[in-house]
């Protein structure tokens, strides 16, 4: 049974200035969100990839008022493709170049010195799950799945299985995804995915197994762009686009 829902989603397609160099600058972009209410410490914000910025408020809303045992609360999260490096490593990679090739000597010297140590922690997709867990104290059974619709469906099924077999007392199930940065939007074009990119997060709190509802998401996609695995959970929680 679904007892709570939290969502951070765009409301419409808009021109997104960073995508101006692409054939279309339309994207479904979330304004904000305000992370302060959802962080234990403000400085934690510097570690968050965009998908985690969206996931924290969505998960926090779904979890609001939950007074069960967080150690036995399951966390099942669907994520999208690896977040790109948005220029953090640019200085390092540029410093390694010599005549258009990656130069081994420069790699070990200037390249290493300039490489941002926290970059891998921003590009690992499961950091969405990690940050939700760290900020909320969830320690239960968990999975982190990648892969658009199938990931959303997969986390739903994993949560149901865990609840049905008593491996968790309740389950926070969700998805978070962002493809509105320039590298992701470009890569979508390269892959032939020309519908506007989007971003968002949605989480539901389950206290017992529940059937995945279905919803027609075509209209939603036209309004707020492609949301990857978020779409799967939009349908799952019965968000019917109008």
């Amino acid at each position: 049974m679904i007892v709570a829902v939290g969502a951070v989603l765009p409301t419409a397609l808009r021109v997104h200035a960073p995508l101006a160099a692409l054939p279309s600058a339309l994207a479904g972009v979330v304004v904000g969100p305000d992370l302060v209410p959802w962080l234990k410490r403000r400085k934690d914000a510097r570690l968050l990839p965009r998908a985690a910025e969206l996931a924290l408020p969505a998960a926090g809303q779904a979890l609001f008022g939950f007074d069960g045992d967080l150690e036995e609360l399951g966390l099942f999260v669907a994520v999208g493709r690896e977040p790109p490096d948005e220029g953090d490593a640019e200085a390092s990679i540029a410093a390694m170049a010599k005549d258009g090739r990656l130069d081994r000597a420069r790699f070990g010297d200037q390249g290493r010195a300039l490489y941002p140590p926290l970059l891998p922690l921003r590009t690992l997709p499961n950091m969405v799950l990690a940050h939700v867990a760290i900020q909320s104290g969830i320690r239960g059974e968990n999975v982190c799945l990648a892969g658009g619709f199938e990931a959303g469906v997969g986390v739903w099924d994993a949560a149901n299985d865990a609840l049905a077999s008593g491996r968790c007392v309740a389950a926070l199930v969700g998805a978070a995804f962002s493809a509105v940065d320039r590298a992701s939007a470009r890569d979508r074009h390269r892959l032939g995915q020309t519908e506007p990119p989007g971003e968002g997060a949605i989480f539901v709190l389950l206290v017992g197994p529940a059937v995945r509802p279905e919803a027609d998401l075509r209209v939603w996609r036209q309004r707020v762009g492609a949301l990857g695995p978020v779409e799967a959970l939009l349908g799952a929680v019965g968000v019917t686009p109008r």
């Binding site: 692409l22 054939p23 967080l70 493709r81 690896e82 220029g87 640019e90 990679i93 540029a94 390694m96 170049a97 258009g100 090739r101 990656l102 790699f107 070990g108 010297d109 490489y115 970059l119 891998p120 922690l121 590009t123 690992l124 997709p125 499961n126 799950l129 990690a130 867990a133 760290i134 909320s136 969830i138 320690r139 239960g140 059974e141 982190c144 799945l145 990648a146 892969g147 619709f149 199938e150 990931a151 469906v153 997969g154 099924d157 994993a158 149901n160 299985d161 491996r167 320039r182 590298a183 470009r186 890569d187 979508r188 892959l191 032939g192 197994p209 529940a210 059937v211 995945r212 279905e214």
Partner: protein, 398 residues
């Protein structure tokens, strides 16, 4: 019945069907009882010279410039076809792609002007043959392999170094509850290229010597690569068709540290939770486990935390780590290590801990240094990932 993506939706139908392992394929740099590792020039310039590379794996045509995809394809081929008529699923744990030198040189360096990248020009380059997008789609390997075998269910776990173990647990449950008849489950990963080394070196995780789990002077891990896949089926089906049963899947447990994105909980709180849940899932007590394959990376903090957790949950059960032998295979670790445990059961060997020459007195569990010429009966295998995800699997011999 919901056929969305081929996954049959099953509620309240925890069948309890026993799931067995009827096939194992694994590629690592070597065996768990032999020191592997070679000096790599790119790693050497970072002061972490040894890496454990798998020999004899060339680029698969479906996975150009993608060694982890090629490794997955290799073990997939070795495992062979699923039983005729079986509804098959593929459950794979995968790791971070990270930029390869080829990708940097083809996708980025053409746009380097006076030491800075022309970001607008990079974004305008929509050439579909560029290498960047495909490698960064985590589920791609699962999809390609699934298409080869006509799989009806696909799942890609991205749980850092716990990914492959999570995939095996998920696959076993899918087989047990009847969602699929047969699952190919495991993981694949390789970060053996300069930027792969760099991403771990800047975190201080790589050893300047070699990985030495539980050793007093351990100083990080040797990076490895690998892939492994298990064929999982319901026991009744396997016995009916006369398939060899190598091991029985008994249970799994997972947890989250909720502590720090890189450092484990210092007392192994999350690790202990995962092991307790695995025991509960398997219906076992600590006394039933006679060997632990530790995550045992060879980092100072990680090994101590895990040893505290093992001692607290299981007592003084013989514990080994394979990472001193063939390195840390990152997202594939949980699969390659469980695969070697199962092969050890079949071959009559309990593997020790290569590289542990002087046990650190701060380690609280019983470390098995030398291999034993008898098989373990019940193995618990740990995998812990960045982000604090932990997974423990339990299998029994035969």
């Amino acid at each position: 019945m919901d056929l969305l993506f081929g996954r049959r939706q099953v509620l309240h139908e925890v069948t309890g069907a026993r799931v067995v392992v009827t096939g194992v394929a694994v590629r690592t740099a070597g065996r768990p009882d032999v020191k592997s590792g070679e000096v790599d020039a790119d790693a050497e310039v970072l002061g972490v010279p040894l890496v454990a590379r798998v020999a004899g794996v060339s680029d698969d045509p479906d996975f150009p410039d993608d060694r982890k995809g090629s490794l997955a394809s290799a073990v997939f081929g070795e495992l062979g076809a699923p039983p005729i008529g079986a509804r098959m699923g593929i459950f794979l744990g995968t790791g971070l792609s990270s930029l390869t030198p080829h990708e940097v040189e083809v996708d980025l360096y053409p746009w380097l002007r006076d030491g800075r990248f022309d970001r607008d020009a990079i974004v305008r380059d929509l050439d579909p043959t560029r290498p960047a997008p495909r490698r960064h789609v985590p589920e791609r390997v699962t999809h390609v392999l699934g298409a080869r075998m006509g799989a009806v269910s696909l799942e890609t776990s991205f749980s850092a170094c716990a990914a492959a173990a999570q995939s095996i647990a998920s696959a076993a449950r899918a087989v047990g509850r009847g969602e699929v008849d047969c699952a190919y489950a495991g993981g694949h990963d390789s970060m053996l290229h300069p930027l792969g080394y760099l991403s771990f070196a800047v975190l201080g995780a790589l050893s300047p010597t070699r990985g030495r789990p539980f050793h007093r002077g351990r100083d990080g891990f040797m990076i490895g690569e690998g892939a492994a896949m298990l064929r999982l089926e319901r026991e009744d089906d396997a016995r009916a068709r006369g398939a060899p049963v190598l091991a029985t899947f008994l249970g799994a447990g997972s947890s989250i540290d909720a502590h720090n994105v890189t450092a484990p909980h210092p007392e192994g709180r999350g690790a202990a939770l995962a092991m307790r849940r695995a025991l509960r899932d398997a219906g076992l007590t600590a006394a039933d486990v006679d060997y632990v394959n530790a995550h045992g990376t060879g980092t100072q903090v990680g090994d101590i935390a895990e040893s505290l957790a093992i001692a607290a949950v299981l007592g003084q059960v013989p514990t080994g780590s394979f990472k001193g032998a063939f390195g840390h295979c990152i997202a594939a670790a949980g699969a390659v290590e469980l695969a070697w445990c199962i092969l050890g059961m079949a071959e009559g060997t309990t593997y020790g801990t290569v590289g542990c020459e002087e046990l650190d007195p701060a380690i609280r569990c019983t470390v098995l240094v030398d291999s034993l010429s008898r098989p373990p009966n019940v193995v618990l295998s740990n995998s812990f990932g960045f982000g604090g995800q932990n997974c423990a699997l339990i299998v029994a011999r035969g």
